[in-house]
């Protein structure tokens, strides 16, 4: 906190958003957001998942055009018709996910669009590689071979290269969206050093991170978003941690109800899901665990820990080489989701838009998708029986839709998630795997989904729940398994279950407090409980 950079309080903003609103179809993502970055300051943008940070960033960087409101740079209104315009205007961006081209060389990625040319107008290859090496050297990354394909480096290194690209564009404003989520401690230090240097040179930085420690260490001011609106704006130091977390979550949510913990008897464990030493790909390396009926088992892990890969392998989306997966006394065939489903396993994938709902079908058809065969007799769907099932499930899960006929694409994220859960419940699963079921849905729907999880377990289903939010795991799970680099790094039982113990297991040999953000999760929640 000693090395703060802010000094030019009175300087005019390098980039200012004025009353920016943005809506997609029926979803209002941003409502009259105003926000200003001054030269030489690091401005934190804080908020929960789904608060609208990413949308705001995409508006600032020209990827989305605002529905209303305007952007002003150094006193002049600007209009971006695409990211290219924003870059030309001096806005450099480092996105949350590395979005460079893996099949091209590091140098080509660094200079894509601004490649040095000879006087004949052709690319100057030698200069391209030389400039790239010099640039990497300047940012302390001289050991990276600029000729190697970007895709041959680990994610953290790719993220650093992405930062160098953003910083190298002589940007007046640098927008960094979760830049440290894939970095280790030493890489974070390098990144911070670069940010401080840029700020000292007068660049304005917009900084988004879930790691509160980072915000307090690096940032001068903070703007807090919740549900697409600005709910607080302050000098960083004037806002305490409790205050910040409260602003992010809203008062009501800070009180999380912890569901009573169950301990499954051995017999119920034997009847549930048993995963025995499966190996598959680099991110699933010998994982064993079991989930009893009536029990909620949380699965925690940082970005790249293999948590999604693990459940995909269990369900049969991916194959495995060794080990076995059993449900009760039935052995599931590897790489066969259909076999897992018929045995009574259900899987709610992480990305519901890509792998789950079919937006153009009705709520009814989406729910019945997995049971088409079962409600049909001689190939003819029994409509009235199906209708009863649909209505019952919609009521039980409190799906807010105008009726079974409404298109799923018109529902909110939380209600889409409920439709997906309903689809699986229609198959009467014994064990359900939920991959980050509350990601990106609003706070009300979140607690509804959490209570559905509890109810399912109370009715005798076994639940595996992945979550990036530690408080959610603590409140919903009976015990938590922690994954690190594709291996089981620890198990935390009901008695020891709190956020600190998960953080310790996640961090492993790293010092406590380093790198606790679970990808997009809520870290360092000193004030959350």
């Amino acid at each position: 906190m000693a090395e703060r950079t802010g000094q030019t309080r009175a300087a005019p903003a390098v980039l200012e958003a004025q009353y920016i609103s943005k809506s997609f179809d029926r979803v209002q993502a941003l409502t009259e957001v105003s926000f200003a970055v001054r030269p030489g300051e690091v401005h934190a943008l804080a908020g929960q998942n789904g608060a609208g940070k990413s949308t705001l960033i995409k508006v600032l960087t020209g990827y989305h055009a605002p529905t209303s409101g305007r952007l002003v740079m150094a006193g002049r209104p600007v209009h971006f018709s695409g990211p290219r315009d924003a870059q030309a205007a001096g806005i450099g961006t480092m996105y949350q996910e590395v979005n460079l081209i893996p099949l091209r060389s590091v140098a080509h990625n660094l200079f894509l669009g601004t490649e040095p040319r000879t006087r004949w107008g052709l690319l100057d290859q030698r200069k391209l590689y030389r400039d790239a090496s010099e640039l990497l050297d300047r940012y302390g990354l001289g050991s990276i071979d600029a000729r190697a394909d970007l895709g041959s480096f680990p994610l953290g290194v790719q993220q650093m290269i992405s930062m160098v690209r953003a910083a190298a564009s002589n940007a007046r404003v640098l927008v960094m969206d979760e830049p440290t989520s894939a970095l280790n401690e030493a890489e974070v230090r390098t990144l911070f050093a670069v940010v401080r240097r840029l700020v000292a040179e007068g660049t304005g930085v917009v900084y988004v991170s879930h790691r509160l420690d980072e915000l307090y260490e690096l940032c001068d001011r903070v703007t807090v978003l919740r549900d697409g609106r600005v709910v607080a704006e302050s000098v960083m130091d004037d806002m305490g941690r409790h205050e910040l977390v409260d602003a992010m979550l809203g008062r009501a949510l800070a009180q999380v109800v912890r569901r009573p913990k169950a301990k499954a008897p051995a017999a119920d464990r034997a009847a549930g899901l048993q995963v025995e030493g499966i190996h598959g790909g680099p991110k699933v390396r010998g994982i064993s665990f079991s989930v009893g009926l009536g029990e909620v088992v949380g699965l925690a892990g940082l970005l790249g820990s293999g948590r999604t890969e693990t459940v995909e392998t269990v369900f049969g989306v991916e194959r495995y080489r060794r080990g076995q997966v059993r449900l009760g006394d039935r052995r599931l065939r590897p790489g066969r989701p259909a076999d897992a489903i018929s045995a009574g396993l259900a899987f709610l994938p992480e990305d519901r838009r890509a792998d789950g709902v079919i937006p153009n079908l009705s709520v009814r058809d989406n729910i019945l998708l997995a049971t088409m065969g079962k409600t049909a007799r001689l190939g003819v769907v029994n409509r009235s029986a199906a209708e009863r099932v649909v209505l019952e499930l919609m009521k039980r899960l409190a799906v807010r839709a105008s009726g079974p006929e409404q298109r799923v694409g018109e529902l909110s994220g939380g209600n889409q998630q409920k439709v997906l859960i309903a689809r699986w419940l229609a198959t009467h699963p014994k064990v359900m795997i939920l991959d980050d079921p509350t990601r990106g849905i609003d706070v009300g729907a979140k607690s509804e989904v959490q209570s559905i999880v509890g109810e399912l377990a109370a009715n005798g289903a076994g639940i595996v729940m992945i979550s990036s939010e530690l408080e959610e795991l603590v409140s919903a799970a009976d015990r938590v398994l922690v994954l690190r680099s594709g291996e089981l790094a620890g198990e935390i039982g009901a008695d020891d279950l709190d956020e600190q113990s998960i953080v310790r297991a996640l961090a492993g040999d790293k010092p406590a407090g380093a790198g606790l953000a679970a990808g997009e999760g809520e870290p360092d929640d000193a004030g959350v409980r």
Partner: protein
């Protein structure tokens, strides 16, 4: 690791070294595959046909291949950006007819007319696909049908149109320079230019970026739409130019020639190492792919026991084999990378002192 090599290089000392060449064994193998296949094809043909490996026959193969090779060049660029172009076959025929008609007015029109049509067609493709976001399949399929109908309509019932002979146009298309056919020289020049465009221009870099991940490319500020439009214009212009050249060479505009070239050109590009998923490719590989096509055709013509259908069967088999091979090599490359990346995960990139 490679620390010995880097020992004493100042700032690099101490930290793990991330110097690795992008050209590992699997990627080299992937690049070489088309040439190995070409060599194998030539070897088989020359072992079966006594006169295959003669200068006259080989120059015959090159001449015969040159027309479709020009189409393959454009098609490869389209594949690298991640699309494909089905309009090139019937555009080839339409261009031939336009060239023949144009030759009767004034010889430069024999080039200008068809190439202008090709550029216009490509611009239309680029607009509909790049800007209106229509599927390449639908747009170019519609043109495949439309142009072939247009070629038949212009010629009235599909008659062959003769080319006005004795002009610079016909002598360019059928002449030789230093004993090499002009059309072969044209093909070589076009591919050299293609290699320069692909590897040494910003457009080429953008092409790979768009094919690698169009969304990322847009966020990185690459002019995605413009890249797509330019690519279809190049493809259309090359197909039309090839059609005009063929009209001059054969002294006639034939409205039904070139049917099937659209798929053959995709096949040659794929055999040449372009991935249908985009982001990967060269121009030298597809040239080899086009020559493989020419060698098989020539072989079938020379061998009395084989008939025309054999050519397609052999080529079909090649495509399957090559695609399986390419996929296996790509997977292997990927697996090696992932293994390395996960192995290195724990190691810090930079010394903590940085």
């Amino acid at each position: 690791m490679t620390s010995a090599r880097n020992a004493g290089r100042g700032p690099r000392r101490g930290g793990p070294v991330w110097s690795r060449s992008g050209r590992d064994a699997a990627s080299i193998a992937r690049r070489l595959t088309p040439f190995v296949i070409l060599a194998l094809t030539v070897a088989v043909a020359s072992s079966q046909v006594p006169n295959f490996l003669t200068v006259s026959n080989l120059s015959n193969v090159a001449r015969q291949s040159s027309f479709i090779a020009l189409i393959v060049l454009g098609q490869s660029l389209v594949l690298i950006y991640g699309g494909f172009d089905l309009s090139v076959g019937s555009l080839f025929a339409l261009a031939g007819v336009l060239a023949a008609d144009g030759s009767h007015v004034a010889w430069p029109l024999a080039f200008v007319l068809p190439v202008a049509a090709g550029v216009a067609s490509g611009a239309l493709n680029g607009y509909l696909i790049g800007r209106v976001k229509m599927a390449p399949f639908i747009v170019t399929l519609a043109e495949l049908l439309g142009y072939s109908g247009l070629a038949l309509a212009i010629t009235g019932q599909g008659n062959v149109v003769s080319v006005h002979g004795g002009t610079f146009f016909t002598s360019l298309a059928s002449g030789t320079v230093l004993g090499v056919d002009n059309v072969t020289v044209t093909m070589v020049l076009a591919f050299v230019a293609g290699a320069v465009v692909l590897n040494r221009t910003r457009y080429g870099a953008a092409l790979f970026a768009v094919g690698g991940n169009a969304d990322s490319a847009r966020m990185l500020g690459v002019p995605v739409q413009r890249t797509v439009v330019v690519t279809y214009v190049i493809s259309g212009a090359l197909a039309a130019f090839a059609g005009a050249l063929f009209a001059g060479f054969s002294a006639s505009g034939q409205p039904t020639v070139g049917s099937g070239y659209e798929l053959q050109s995709i096949a040659a590009a794929v055999v040449g190492g372009c991935a249908l998923t985009g982001g990967v490719g060269t121009v030298s590989g597809p040239l080899a792919g086009a020559l493989v096509l020419g060698v098989i055709q020539d072989f079938v013509n020379l061998d009395s026991q084989l008939n025309d259908y054999t050519q397609n069967i052999v080529y079909g088999v090649f495509i399957v084999v090559v695609v399986v091979l390419q996929k296996a090599l790509l997977d292997r490359q990927q697996a090696m990378r992932e293994a390395r990346a996960s192995h290195a995960e724990g190691a810090p990139l930079v010394p903590a002192a940085a």
